[in-house]
């Protein structure tokens, strides 16, 4: 029984509470390219980024590249990682492939980029929900010891994203189950597949904060306390506010 939200002034569904507890636990554990301490540091930087003065000036500028400076950071991560965390957190609607190529430099790989992005996404999903409900942000997990696995899927290759991805036909036994059965894999899932564990982890949250891949298209019944139409209106409005076509 999860108790992450046991003292919350509003009831949180048990499956959602448990999904967040699993997500928080995974953030503290060694990942694929970052260890537990680095993963928690990325999560902490994600939160800290919201108060970055450089990001605020850049967001207000016509061209973010025209504004030079240093991010207000916690100082626990390399500059390239801080740049990725802050830009993804604060100005995602203007990210470009040119910017992506510029941050993939020696010492910061495409695999680390995907894992970093995934951690930012986990924190944004959970923290934004808490903000909506007027809850305090959850305390970050304590990092657990151990090295990252450095597992790179052999079948990953250039596809429809800036980073290599896995087509369903290229999955091996080790990546089995990262895509839903009975439906084509969506690009949003393939986009994170260079680090298969992050697909599993993030889409565990997706299934509980939103709906699973079958439920979202099953209009014959409702799976949440709000209807499909209400859910999709919220989703579409948020994406428009974020200037995200996908």
């Amino acid at each position: 029984m999860s108790e992450l939200y046991a003292s919350a002034p509003i009831a949180i569904r048990g499956d959602l509470d448990a999904a967040h507890e699993r997500a928080w636990d995974r953030i503290g554990r060694p990942g694929t390219w970052w260890d537990g301490g680095q993963r928690v540091a990325i999560a902490a930087e994600t939160r800290h980024a919201s108060s970055c003065a450089l990001c605020r000036r850049r967001k207000e500028a016509l061209s973010s590249a025209a504004i030079e400076g240093t991010h207000d950071s916690l100082g626990a991560l390399p500059e390239s990682v801080i740049e990725v965390v802050h830009r993804v957190r604060n100005d995602p609607g203007r990210l470009s492939e040119r910017w992506f190529r510029s941050v993939i430099v020696a010492g910061f790989s495409e695999e680390q980029y995907v894992e970093t992005l995934s951690i930012v996404a986990h924190v944004v999903a959970i923290d934004t929900m808490a903000r909506g409900l007027g809850l305090d942000a959850l305390p970050l997990p304590a990092p657990k010891p151990g090295p990252p696995s450095h597992y790179r899927p052999a079948g990953a290759k250039p596809g429809g994203a800036w980073v290599p991805w896995l087509e369903p036909a290229d999955l091996t036994e080790q990546e089995a189950g990262i895509y839903p059965a009975g439906r084509p894999a969506a690009n949003i899932m393939k986009a994170m597949s260079l680090v298969p564990d992050e697909v599993k982890s993030f889409f565990d949250i997706v299934s509980h904060q939103y709906q699973g891949p079958l439920e979202m298209r099953d209009f014959s019944r409702e799976y949440r306390a709000i209807s499909h139409a209400q859910i999709e209106l919220l989703a579409a409005r948020v994406s428009a506010l974020n200037q995200c076509l996908y």
Binding site: G132, A191, H228, I231, L234, R237, V238, C244
Partner: protein
């Protein structure tokens, strides 16, 4: 695309302009205006506006509905970042099915491939 699909399956006429904030009524979705105002407030920085939006929405959809609404806003605030930071485009099937309303609502200006 799923918003329109949900309307079609329920024989409900939805005003997709709600997505861009261009209309300030329910757009054919029960409590649509309150939901849109809640989403806008969660992503905004005005704490009082958020408190007002939350207080208005809660009695309309109930506490469980409010939790689900906040969960969806949170999730899409994250998933948009994954899409934008990996440069993915719409799947061919989704692109074809949404051509008309993307054009009508001016959403194609957000296409990642158009960014410098």
């Amino acid at each position: 695309m799923l918003l329109r699909a949900s309307g079609l399956t329920q024989n409900r006429a939805l005003d997709l302009n709600s997505v861009t904030g261009a209309v300030r009524d329910d757009g054919g979705v029960p409590h649509g205006r309150l939901l849109v105002e809640f989403a806008e407030a969660v992503l905004g920085e005005d704490e009082e506006a958020l408190a007002r939006a939350r207080a208005a929405l809660r009695p309309a959809i109930g506490p469980a509905g409010l939790t689900d609404a906040a969960a969806v806003v949170g999730l899409f605030n994250a998933i948009d970042r994954v899409a934008d930071a990996t440069g993915i485009t719409l799947e061919a099937e989704k692109a074809e099915a949404s051509t008309d309303f993307r054009a009508a609502l001016g959403l194609d200006r957000f296409d990642v491939s158009a960014r410098g």
